[in-house]
Amino acid sequence: MMDKSIRVDDSAKNIHAELRHLADSISQIIKGIRVAQEPIADSRNKVPQATEQLERVTQQTATATHRVLDMVEAITSREGEIETQMKELRRVLPSTYFRNNSRVKRIVERICVSASANQNDAYAIMDALQFQDITSQQVDHAISLLEQVENRLKDVMVGLQLDVGPENDVKRKERAYDPNANFSSNSSEQSEVDELLNNLTKEKQNN
């Protein structure tokens, strides 16, 4: 009789100890959640700031790129005008003029060569400015990933019954991008240009 009561007493003590341990663990978990609440909420709130910052980068590079494109367009136009004026000069001067003035002839030729080289370089600058389109696609991809993180953090907060705060009413931009857009590897080689031009010449000859 005595043994049984001791055993019951021991069991009750064990259960009591386990319950206390469980209560302590729950208390620790709750403390942990409270500690985590602020950084989770803070991280979630920072995502829109990061996306805004990235969008500003895209807008500013686009503005700068368009200004450069406009300037390059003006340069190519002026270089084209130089070439036209040089042709006009050749036309209006008597045919014997350049024969008798070889130095002037060389100067005019050099001006034409330089104008043509400047135009080619200007086109190369324009080609290179496509970087802005490629990087804006990469930025859009990064923004999309950040928005996914934001949504996951919200899910975590809802799951932990934490205050998610007011919903952001800002309508998100619809994004269409290629996540694999790459500026360095895709650029068409000069050989491809030559091949296309050769094909074009052949087709014209055949017609």
Binding site: L69, L129, Q130, F131, L196, E203
Partner: protein, 123 residues
Amino acid sequence: MSRRILVVDDSPTLVKFVSYSLKSSGYEVVGACDGMDALEKVSHLESDIDLVVTDLNMPNIDGYELIATLRQNDRFAEVPIIILSSEEGDEDKQKGEKVGATSYLVKPFKSSVLLAEVARLLD
């Protein structure tokens, strides 16, 4: 009379770059910021479009849907369509061909390559 080309891309930089390249070679250009804008613009045009240059990844109506829609219209049944895309995969090229694209150029591209391709398809 100069040939008229429809340029469709959601990147204003690309539309500006392609438009300038084409205009400097004597083509007339109509720009659009996505497939929906392109369809809207061609529906209001009285004269024909001779060639279409389009991106694939665009909001509202993407390049594939735009091409498929244009091909259903008798006015665009035979018009050459060039896809400009940063998607390099064969799958995208085949899908483009299936909906009715004539040619495919990978971004970034040289303007001389685009001009040669336009000339090949129009001349």
